[in-house]
């Protein structure tokens, strides 16, 4: 009998023992004389079930999770290889409510296919986007992306079609693509999941963009904290090159395009696009003043499209299915789907791709199932370390760029970090300022000095020294940082600080705190 199992190779599965589980399964199969094929798929993004082992049966793929290596012999004995009942059996993963409720356009293949198999990628609709893109030509591609309403998924939400058109219209002896895979925001892991679980999607998306704007070289800048993603992208690029999908004459066309992975070196600020460009050029990752826009003068002074992983990864669907198929999802000016990442103290954490418009309350209470600790949800930070903390009172906010901005927040890269009622919001405000102080590139004064002064001010406040005055200074500092900083690091650090102060004033009422018996 031949047996086919799926054991995720995603870092979030490996971190909880997936490699050991795969090893233990192989031993059990060998004991029984079974010929076994283990596919190291990406993660389906239901993290509390990792390691989620799936076995191919006549009824489809049957999942078991979470599986730990020391329990494998007993689970196999109980009939895991045959898909038999077990307390950890979750049935067909696609029927799990968490997955069934999603609209997976970008993540359609992630967790399902063998990420390193080009045949598998093609068999699941891969490279249909590039095929249509080549028939449309550069102007047609840009038109299609523009009509889809796609906006930059890194956080800024700038219309992708406009960015591509600006670069396409710019003149230069050569043009570049840069993929921002410096996913440093706490609470985010969607870029990592795509690179590990469906790397050809990013390659196809960037190839489409390269053809559209006339770029011949693309760099994928991945943070060094992602060794699995770096390895997976490198291998997939090599495979694509051998298959004639990168290099001279991409997919039999007259276009040339190639890709290279570059590794960051532990600087959060390099997630800012101009700092990233400087880093790629071999400089300190310091922010550039704009203009000039990267679309006119980007990498090595050449016209450059710089987009997030998820922006490029949305392109193949848009091209394959048409702009309308994407634009029909969403609300207002936020079109299509957003891969939302549910993280922190949440029961059902993971990747939840859905059309824009779902409310924060639905995401946290309903889909997320509240806190993992079982305590009350008190605060939710949306959009990474530079995002605002929202209280329950704002849970009716729809997931939409403008709706969050209207409430002094941001959706950023789609990270949602849940905190229970043990959180100390003054401590979180201090952390935001300390993080900014550590990570500031040092180029502009409001960020470099403001963050340090902010930490000192919160420390004075918590020591009870002239509390009213410290809060006034803190507000003033935030104002200066917000309007005086060159980039989002200094400019957005006020979001977590001010939102904590505005929505959770009781945590800053130092007199009462100090009066309480310890």
């Amino acid at each position: 009998m031949s047996l086919k199992l799926y054991v995720p190779g995603d870092a979030a599965a490996v971190a909880v023992g997936a490699d050991e589980v795969a090893g233990a399964l192989a031993i059990e199969a060998a004991k029984r004389g079974l010929s076994l094929q283990i596919v190291r798929n990406g993660s389906r993004g239901v993290f509390e079930l990792e390691t989620l082992v799936e076995v191919e049966t006549p009824e489809g793929r049957i999942g078991y999770g979470p599986v730990y290596a020391d329990e494998v012999p007993a689970m196999v004995e109980a009939g895991l290889f045959e898909g038999k009942p077990h307390p950890r059996r979750v049935g067909r993963p696609e029927e799990l409510p968490f997955l069934k409720r999603q609209t997976r356009l970008t993540f359609a293949r992630c967790g399902i296919i063998d990420p390193q198999s080009l045949e598998d990628y093609r068999a699941h609709g891969g490279y249909a986007g590039l095929e249509r893109a080549l028939s449309l030509g550069p102007a047609g591609i840009v038109e299609e992306i523009t009509r889809s309403g796609l906006r930059g998924r890194g956080g800024a939400g700038f219309p992708t079609g406009v960015k591509w058109k600006t670069t396409a219209d710019a003149t230069g002896d050569r043009k570049y693509l840069v993929c921002n895979a410096d996913e440093g925001d706490s609470g985010t892991f969607a870029d990592r999941m795509i690179m590990e679980g469906d790397p050809f999607l990013l390659i196809e998306g960037m190839t489409i963009a390269g053809v559209a704007v006339g770029a011949t070289k693309g760099y994928i800048y991945v943070r060094s904290e992602y060794p699995h993603a770096i390895a997976a992208m490198g291998r997939a690029i090599e495979t694509a090159r051998r298959a004639g999908l990168l290099g001279q004459g991409v997919a039999g066309s007259s276009y040339a395009f190639d890709l290279e992975v570059r590794v960051g070196a532990g600087a959060y600020v390099c997630g800012e696009e101009t700092a990233l460009l400087d880093s790629l050029e071999g400089k300190r990752g310091q922010v550039r003043a704009k203009p000039p826009l990267p679309a006119h003068e980007g990498l090595f002074g050449r016209p450059t499209v710089i987009n997030n992983v998820l922006s490029f990864a949305a392109a193949p669907f848009i091209l394959a299915e048409g702009a309308e198929a994407y634009r029909d999802y969403g609300v207002g000016r936020s079109r299509g789907t957003m891969p939302i990442q549910l993280a922190g103290n949440i029961r059902n954490g993971g990747l939840f791709e859905t059309a824009f418009g779902v409310t924060l309350g639905e995401l946290v209470d309903d889909i997320g199932g509240g806190t993992l600790s079982g305590r009350l949800v008190r605060a939710v930070q949306v959009g990474g370390p530079l995002g605002a903390y929202f209280p329950r009172a704002l849970f009716d906010t729809p997931f939409d760029y403008e709706a969050f901005a209207a409430r002094d927040g941001l959706i950023g890269h789609g990270g949602v970090v849940v905190f229970d009622d043990t959180v100390d919001m003054m401590k979180q405000a201090r952390f935001a300022l300390e993080f900014c102080a550590i990570e500031s590139c040092g180029k502009c004064t409001p960020c470099r000095i403001g963050a340090v002064r902010g930490v000192e001010t919160v420390d004075k406040l918590s020591a009870g020294r002239e509390p009213a005055r410290q809060i006034e200074i803190l507000r003033d500092l935030c104002e200066t940082m917000k309007f005086g900083s060159l980039c989002a690091l200094g400019g957005f650090t006020p979001y977590p600080v001010m939102s904590a102060l505005t929505h959770f004033p009781e945590d800053f009422a130092v007199a009462e705190r100090l009066a309480e018996p310890a």
């Binding site: 870092a11 979030a12 490996v14 971190a15 909880v16 993290f47 509390e48 990792e50 996913e183 440093g184 925001d185 706490s186 609470g187 985010t188 892991f189 990592r192 070289k217 060094s224 904290e225 992602y226 060794p227 699995h228 570059r262 590794v263 960051g264 070196a265 532990g266 600087a267 959060y268 880093s279 790629l280 050029e281 071999g282 400089k283 300190r284 990752g285 090595f300 990442q341 549910l342 993280a343 922190g344 103290n345 949440i346 954490g349 993971g350 993992l372 930070q381 370390p385 990270g415 970090v417 849940v418 905190f419 229970d420 959180v423 979180q428 952390f431 993080f435 990570e439």
Partner: protein, 157 residues
């Protein structure tokens, strides 16, 4: 145990030359040097500056800007604990205190025998599986006291 080769100027020149023809070669060169020697000594900075036609100040500025690069040899093993918000929300603060106590080290310190270092890191992308840590290139999620003990034991082995 990570093993590094001893620094020699000849080997450094060789490593630099492998990457020198790339566009924007400096970061790949420094990564390669650190990968080989475990750190980037002053003599290597001199060699890189000469080979890439940069000033030593420029190269030094780069080495000291990025957290990953070190100018002195590091511990044989480094435990990196995630201290970012999502792990904080999942009990990361308590794990950090526990790690410091068990190792007898504060964040950023190395044990006297040079065997283990404890460092903080901001996000490993395991934000629904935390608190998380990294030992070498290996990731560890769902840290509790038991898993932390195993991690420390592995680091000291």
């Amino acid at each position: 145990m990570l093993s590094f080769e001893p620094f020699t100027p000849e080997r450094a020149v060789e490593i630099v030359s492998v990457h020198a023809d790339q566009e924007g070669p400096l970061l790949p060169v420094l990564h390669a040097l650190q990968h080989a020697f475990g750190h980037i000594p002053d003599d290597a900075v001199r060699i890189v500056a000469g080979a890439l036609n940069l000033s030593r100040a420029e190269v030094h500025g780069l080495v000291t800007f990025y957290r990953d690069f070190r100018t002195e040899p590091g511990a044989a093993r480094t435990i990196k604990l995630c201290r970012a918000e999502a792990c904080q929300a999942r009990g990361g603060d308590a794990i950090a205190v526990m790690a410091e106590e068990k190792l007898g080290l504060a964040m950023g310190e190395t044990s006297k025998d040079g065997q283990v270092a404890l460092e903080e890191v901001f996000c490993l992308g395991l934000c629904a599986s935390g608190p998380s840590a990294m030992l070498g290139d290996r990731l560890i999620g769902r840290l509790d006291e038991q898993r932390l003990d195993a991690l420390i034991e592995e680091a000291r082995a």
